[in-house]
Amino acid sequence: MTTSSENQKVGPGAPPHSPQLTPHLRVSGIRKRFGGVEALRGVDFDVRRGEVVALVGDNGAGKSTLMKILAGAHHADEGQFFLDEQSVSISSPHDATDLGIQIVYQDLALCENLDVAANLFLGAEPTRPGWQFLPKFLRPIDEMRMEKKALEAIDQLRVRTLQSVRAKVGGLSGGQRQAIAIARAVGAESTVVLLDEPTAALGVAQTRQVLDVVKRLRDNGHAVVYISHNLRDIFEVSDRITVLRHSANVATYDTQDTNPDAIVVAMTRGLDGDGTHAA
């Protein structure tokens, strides 16, 4: 259990569902201010490999802001980031990608005018070898390698309903889009996957499909952060639950030691006797 985290493999070869004891990604004292509004007031958070940590809180509690900071889409005003206990900095989406952190936004951020393969590799298109004399953005895209890898990524998540990776995303269903957004995050050789309300717009069957995908990510050794309002989904899929309220931490629970009522109380009223988080 105390294997060196650098060597732990992500993917089907990794030991199934054996969380590390040390956090893979850890942040502390994150502060973020939008004009006069303090969106995060010194928040701590961590996630290990092979576990799903749910991030819950009422609307405006700061979940999405924290998520965006982890993904590099927002820049934290203050705070420290550690990956495998090594201090790192995340100030742009590129930083996050380089560290293996990928986010799936609630609005999915897919380009509907492009096909599935192009969306999966957006911003990270593989280019053909032998064109090094050109700047990177003008080298020819290796369409076939891209399609091949896209097919693998889609197969790994078992998105059976998708007929072709050359279909335009604009013509796909909500569940398929969600799966493609997740496949994009996983396909980028990520170790941390951030999911923002992945089931919010989905029906029962498609929610099932997405939850299965989330479990598969965990079993493959990914560190998964899961934002949701749906406590039933959270209790099904998560290992720990971190509760935010009024831009600050309330507490983190082991999912098996708590129950939905306790979480709802923590979300809405905070912890009794915890003066620092009083409304």
Binding site: D107, C111, L122, T127, R139, P140, E147, G170, G174
Partner: protein, 394 residues
């Protein structure tokens, strides 16, 4: 998902347009219809001589339309493109006529100026956040003034430089024309078959063989027919070769490179592009730079063709609207994210053919304007219909 649902006509139409060559279909059909109509009513229309002039007439509009397509892909627009053309052409003319600068150097300076002016507008759009419509409208007015200033009081400068004139007067020897066409067809066929073989080796989905051969044969027929027609008059104009080469280069950049992909991504969903780490501002500025380059080249071509640079040829006339119209008729969306530079060339041919045919049939300027308007409206309607289908989530 819903396999049993009866497909409506617009669904089928949309599916057709999703295919790789489907985007060419509407504009090719329009072109064919126009050519057949005028071919029947005006026997002179389908003569090699007329085709030669048709290509030459459409060249300036085509060059500008190719440039505009690049910014349209982003969902921006450049209203100053004709005025930029005019300024560049005027500067080139002044440099050659007044300062005795050699033709090639003057052309390069003009292109540099075009890139500079457009990049300036791109910076205002990307970094200051002014809508491109407003920035380039200001550019349109300002550059027209600038052009008047450069041209001076006489309002026109004659262009006798052999290098500049040569761009539109030189035609290729017949044999060279055939050779070029054969080389292009061979390269196209080889590339198509090689791609098919590689796709089979990788186990990827394949094009139907009929599609594959159809494409190659269609391309070959088109290329050889064009060469045969033009060779029976004066030969292939150098200008046509240059323009096709330039369009091929930009076509390759827009469809096959990460930069091109980012143009489509920003046009389709700028927020998405930003989140995957694309520098949307740089992309926007670069796109405007390309328009500036094409505008300058269009200006040089225009100066060469008319053998003079006058205010009316660029600024006062309908050049800007024809260029935007050509891009849109070609099937490039005004809403961004969809289009192709090749379609812009075809769109320019549609507008050119319409004007040419109506001229031959002795139509009045009033008729020409109304026809052009109708065609443009039809093109945008087609765009709107195919767009409404793809952006809705079911």
């Amino acid at each position: 998902m819903q396999p049993d649902v009866q497909l409506s006509f617009s669904d089928r139409f949309r599916q057709l347009r999703e295919t790789r060559f489907g985007t060419f279909a509407p504009v090719l059909l329009a072109l064919a219809a126009i050519w057949i109509y005028f071919g029947i009513t005006e026997p002179a229309f389908l003569s090699p001589r007329n085709f030669y002039f048709l290509f030459m007439q459409s060249a300036v509009v085509g060059t500008l339309a190719v440039g505009i397509t690049i910014v349209l892909l982003l969902g921006d627009i450049d209203l100053s493109v004709a005025a930029t053309s005019g300024v560049c052409a005027a500067l080139m003319a002044v440099l050659i006529a007044m300062a005795g600068v050699p033709g090639p150097l003057a052309c390069l300076i003009a292109i540099a100026l075009g890139i500079f002016l457009a990049t300036l507008q791109g910076l205002l759009v990307a970094y200051v956040g002014i809508p491109s419509f407003v920035v380039t409208l200001a550019g349109l007015l300002g550059f027209q003034g600038l052009m008047l200033k450069i041209l001076g009081t006489q309002g026109a400068i004659n262009m006798r430089d052999p290098f500049v004139r040569g761009i539109t007067t030189i035609t290729l020897p017949a044999a060279l024309g055939w050779g070029l066409a054969a080389a292009c067809v061979l390269a196209f066929a080889l590339a198509s078959f090689r791609r098919q073989t590689q796709r089979r080796a990788l186990g990827l989905e394949l094009e139907a063989n009929s599609t594959l051969y159809g494409q190659v044969i269609f391309f070959a027929v088109l290329a050889f027919a064009a060469v045969a027609t033009l060779n029976s008059y004066r030969g292939i104009p150098l200008l046509v070769v240059l323009l096709i080469g330039l369009t091929a280069l930009l076509g390759w950049v827009t469809t096959s490179t990460p930069f091109g992909r980012s143009l489509f991504a920003v046009g389709g969903n700028a927020e998405s592009a930003r989140r995957v780490g694309m520098n949307v501002k740089h992309i926007r500025v670069a796109a405007f730079g390309i328009v500036g380059m094409m505008a300058a080249i269009g200006g040089i071509v225009g100066a060469s063709r008319y053998a003079s640079v006058s205010f009316n040829a660029f600024a006062g006339g309908p050049l800007l609207l024809e260029a935007i119209g050509a891009a849109v008729i070609g099937g490039t969306s005004l809403f961004g994210g969809r289009g192709s530079v090749w379609n812009a060339i075809l769109g320019a041919l549609v507008i050119g053919s319409l004007g040419n045919g109506l001229d031959l049939s002795g139509a009045s300027a009033a008729d020409k304007l109304m026809f052009s308007g109708a065609i443009l409206l039809l093109a945008v309607a087609i765009d709107a219909i195919s767009r409404s289908g793809t952006s809705q989530t079911r």
